[in-house]
Symmetry: C2
């Protein structure tokens, strides 16, 4: 099945400029306009991250690309090319591969990413999609999780919670926003929210060796969190705090840069949700006292 599907793919994935040699040789040859190179890889698996029988396979393919593109955005980088590995159940393998690729190609076109290569196998197991995305940092330095400084303002893009109602399958990787921010400000630290706002914020702060004092009421709650709370009986805020798969960005910047960014016309809204403080952990001030908040979210394999 591999040879004929690769021929089909070669036709579908028109090569972009940055890929000299795409599918069909031993490796892809990629020219990129700048250093350093940024690379990430993330897989999603039937029965773990999605349900084959419930979800549209094109959505699943789209999501597999989008979650990787979100990681590239969280580095302040530009995505250029992707290598796609499909592990396919034997039954209807070609049909399944075609459906998954519809979504992969859609996301690739939308975000100007070339499919530079990949691998295909059939086996006795569930559908798994593993994608590696390559990119580069166009200007300045890559945004690490570890660079937040005391006194920084924490900004969040978009809003949070209830992504399970459907948004999680077609997330918007914040590549365009990241590019706009990179032109206006020096980002000290960044992370994308995959496992939960509070959990990923805690990771960024812990990597940086600091904590955060949150303005809890400022955290933007998505309408889906409110919808979902009607079903679950939990507060909408709880969903925003811990649901995850929002694929929004959390950024740590100086107060001056925060001011500039909040006043700018950007491709997605930004909200100031707290400031970086010396004591590690997540905190809120309540009647003059610091209360510690516990991060919640999705811990892989736990």
């Amino acid at each position: 099945m591999e040879q004929s599907f690769l021929a089909y793919l070669k036709g579908r994935t028109r090569s972009l400029l940055q890929v000299d040699v795409g599918i069909g040789d031993d490796a892809a040859v990629i020219r990129s306009p700048a250093w350093p190179l940024v690379a990430c890889t993330d897989q999603i698996i039937d029965g773990v991250d999605f349900a084959f029988d419930e979800h549209d396979l094109a959505d699943v393919g789209y999501k597999a690309m989008a979650i990787n593109l979100s990681d590239i955005a969280a580095m302040g980088a530009v995505a250029t090319s992707a290598l796609v590995t499909l592990t396919l159940p034997k039954q209807n393998a070609t049909k399944v591969a075609g459906e998954v690729y519809e979504g992969i190609i859609e996301a690739a076109k939308q975000y100007d990413v070339a499919i530079a290569g990949g691998d295909l196998s059939t086996y006795d197991g569930p559908l798994a999609i593993s994608i590696t995305v390559l990119g580069h940092v166009a200007e300045g330095q890559p945004w690490l999780r570890s660079g937040a400084l005391e006194g920084d303002v924490v900004l969040a893009s978009g809003s949070f919670g209830g992504s399970i109602l459907g948004r999680h399958l077609r997330p918007t990787p914040r590549l365009e926003l990241a590019a706009a921010i990179g032109k206006l400000a020096t980002v000290h630290a960044a992370i994308d929210v995959s496992d939960g706002l509070s959990l990923d914020l805690d990771r960024m702060c812990a990597s940086s060796g600091y904590g955060v004092e949150l303005d809890v009421d400022a955290i933007p709650v998505h309408p889906d969190a409110i919808k979902l709370s009607a079903k679950t009986g939990r507060e909408p805020f709880q969903h925003a705090w811990s649901d995850g798969e929002d694929f929004e960005l959390l950024l740590s910047v100086s107060p001056e840069d925060a001011e500039r960014l909040l006043a700018a016309d950007l491709p997605a809204p930004l909200t100031a949700i707290g400031k970086i403080v010396g004591r590690t952990g997540l905190w809120r001030k309540h009647e003059g006292k610091f209360l510690r908040l516990s991060p919640q979210g999705y811990l892989h394999g736990e």
Copy 2:
């Protein structure tokens, strides 16, 4: 399991110079000394490419790296870093991951490749290892399959056949040889032999729009092919012709470059096995007539 295993890994995979940021951020940040970038990805799966119960898992991890490094060698490139995705059966996932990584890290150290990142999942399915290797072309152009010219000499490294007796688990990616050849000659086309000498040679010729006239008696037959023939009753040559997983290089170079390479002291032996001709296909001359040979080997999923 992911967080604690990543911490272990971070300790084990000492970062090499070319990786600024490795495991633990949203993406890896890689500096490479030269353009263009070369990238390939290949996965191996229990029940398809190896047998969990029969094979040492460190060998399996080593192989997963080596087959990708072989692809990088076949591009005439230098390997710099790898992203490793493990899909693990739930039972003993951490133990299995640790054993597989022993082999991955061994190969990475041996060939000076940094583990820049990856992904880990557990699921109800067989062990699968998917690796993306990044590299760059140090001098000249990448070696494609498609550049062979009429009159070129086809050179083969090492010898062929019977790899299933054990060599296939610990193949030697010809990175060192490729680097040495790149300094001495202009390689017009190259491929590594994964699916069978004749099949991969046919692919290189077909990509180039030419055929090859083989000096069949010159094809180097590995001692393992002779050993295996005693069991199978097939001719040793048949094993060399079609077994595959030799991970040797086939190269198409000018007669002058062939002469220079054959006279040089290289890290692995080279043998001239034929010349590129205008008529497509694989041929041998016998008593003044051209006889067509049919390529044989392993066709994925067929």
